[in-house]
Amino acid sequence: MASAAHEKNEATAARLALQVRSMDTTAAGSQKEAPLRFQISDLNFYYGARQAVFGLNLKIPANRITALIGPSGCGKSTFLRNLNRMNETIRGTRYTGDILLDGQDILRMDVVKLRRRVGMVFQRPNPFPKSIYDNVAYGLRINGYSGRLDDLVEKSLKRAALWEEVKDSLHKSAFALSGGQQQRLCIARALAVDPEVLLLDEPCSALDPVTTAKIEELMFQLKDSCTMAIVTHNMQQAARASDFTAFMLDGKLIEHNETPKLFTTPQDPRTEAYITGRFG
């Protein structure tokens, strides 16, 4: 443990959160046995000539929440976006190394199918200028789903803990919702196509604490059916909500461990410095 003199409030709060969680009956050992969803080997990512990720190796276990933490610009969002090949939409990007989803190289897959299996929620809510219903149904419609949309829309909105609030106004514009509701709508939209993995890129950074708590709770409930990787700059959130945490710095993965272990006994001094609030 770092000396008490250097601990900032956030670090204290993180530890308190962990203490609460360790009282949870979930045995630490079960974390290790979870099968892997993503396997990333030796990832080097480039924006044109500039390298943003250096030799990253990471395993993302299935049905667990993995948090990616690190100071701004450390490459965590860039890395996350690689997992569903979203970086391809930016010109001049490329990478070396392998990213395997359930053992398959994601580059060999059809990118459309990949993105159905690996969904994404963005930092700022980005609902489409359509009704609430049409937003949730969008992914289903474009992927050719022809069954009963109503049921699936309802199910997705329930999974995103938004159903009760919008069930009577499904045909209203998505923009009529508050910021927190819009973000939950985006989560519902992403869940509608039943992804195996959900990538969340700082989903709560634009939201208030109450909404943030709601979203963390729904993440916990989604764990059973969905693997999640969440980028966050909020260490409390990482400590509270995730099973595994990966700490990145300057494009490199510094440390990756079960969350309680990373926060209570960080192996690397840089990890310790970050989580005790000395920088970032």
Binding site: D42, T96, G97, L107, V111
Partner: protein, 327 residues
């Protein structure tokens, strides 16, 4: 599938080979790209075709007269002798005269709208002036015939003659139609463009410039005229070029009030002709292929002039955006 020694680079999916088809499984994207590209290319095709057609169909006169077309003042459809000078003269005179009146008027109005008027008033007035720009040419022409021409004949003409009648440009009989009338109508048509663009450019001048001048004790006018307007100089020049291009190509309103006389005359009260006007008047009744070819060649000239002017205007606009007004 991990790499051992040399890393395999994963860029965007492979461009060629059988894998390419798999990766371009989204045929829709390729189709969409090609389709939209085709339509974009269609614009290039249309424009090239336009130049081509004008060039080809003006062949007869180009062959017969060559460059002498441009310094001959004769326009004799019956005799088969054609020259462009009267029309170039008329086009230039009316356009330049229109600019001489509209630029000060337009810049002044733009200054008012950008510097003095409260935002809401400025926006409303700018909107109304934009409406003026949307009014069809033939409407201005109609007003020209029934309002400006009589006005010229009864009021403006005599007034000018009374005050400046000794000047050659104001000599000669005044029938109401002619260079001056056409210029006045053109002025009204062209002013909205100058105001609209100049206002926008003036609004982008950084506040600090204004404040620096005022801070040094300049009056509002001095700050505006000596600091703000020079800063926006390039953009305003751009608007002038745009207005000029518009004035040169203006057809209907001018045709209806210029008097249709293919001669070069000193007096502004005299009837004249512009390129656009003669084409509008004579094209359908062209008496021979040569006649028609001459008209088309005039059209080609007009096209070239407006092409160059618009090109210059765009350059100036780009320069304004980049250099922030300094030139």
């Amino acid at each position: 599938m991990s790499t051992a020694t040399t890393p395999i680079e994963h860029a965007a999916p492979p461009e060629t080979g059988p894998r390419a088809l798999l990766h371009r499984l989204r045929h829709g994207d390729e189709v969409a790209h090609v389709v939209t590209l085709t339509f974009a290319a269609l614009i290039l095709l249309i424009t090239s075709l336009l130049v081509f057609e004008l060039w080809i169909r003006s062949g007869p006169t180009r062959g017969k007269f060559g460059l002498s077309f441009f310094w001959s003042g004769v326009w004799d459809p019956i005799g088969g002798d054609f020259g462009a000078i009267p029309f170039i003269y008329g086009t230039l005179v009316t356009a330049l005269l229109a600019l001489m009146i509209s630029v000060p008027l337009g810049v002044a109005a733009a200054i008012f709208l950008a510097e003095l008027a409260p935002r809401k008033m400025s926006d409303t007035i700018a909107f109304l002036i934009d409406l003026l720009a949307a009014i069809p040419s033939v409407i201005y022409g109609l007003l020209g015939i029934f309002v400006v021409v009589p006005l010229m004949r009864t009021t403006i003409g005599p007034a000018l003659k009374g005050a400046f009648g000794f000047l050659p440009i104001f000599k000669g009989p005044n029938y109401g139609v002619g260079f001056l009338t056409a210029s006045i109508v053109l002025t009204i048509m062209v002013v909205p463009f100058i105001i609209s663009v100049s206002r926008e450019v003036l609004l982008t001048v950084p506040r600090e410039q204004r404040e620096a001048a005022l801070g040094l004790g300049a009056t509002r006018w001095e700050a505006t005229w000596k600091v703000v307007v020079p800063w926006a100089r390039t953009g305003i020049m751009g608007s002038v070029f745009l207005a000029l291009a518009r004035a040169l190509g203006e057809t209907m309103a001018v045709t209806m009030v210029i008097g249709n006389d293919p001669k070069i005359r000193e007096s502004l009260f005299a009837p004249g002709y512009t390129i656009a006007a003669v084409i509008a008047n004579e094209f359908n009744e062209a008496t021979s292929d040569l006649h028609r070819s001459a008209l088309i060649e005039l059209g080609l000239v007009l096209f070239l002039i407006t092409f160059i002017l618009n090109g210059l205007a765009r350059l100036l606009m780009v320069a304004t955006e980049r250099g922030g007004g300094h030139s």
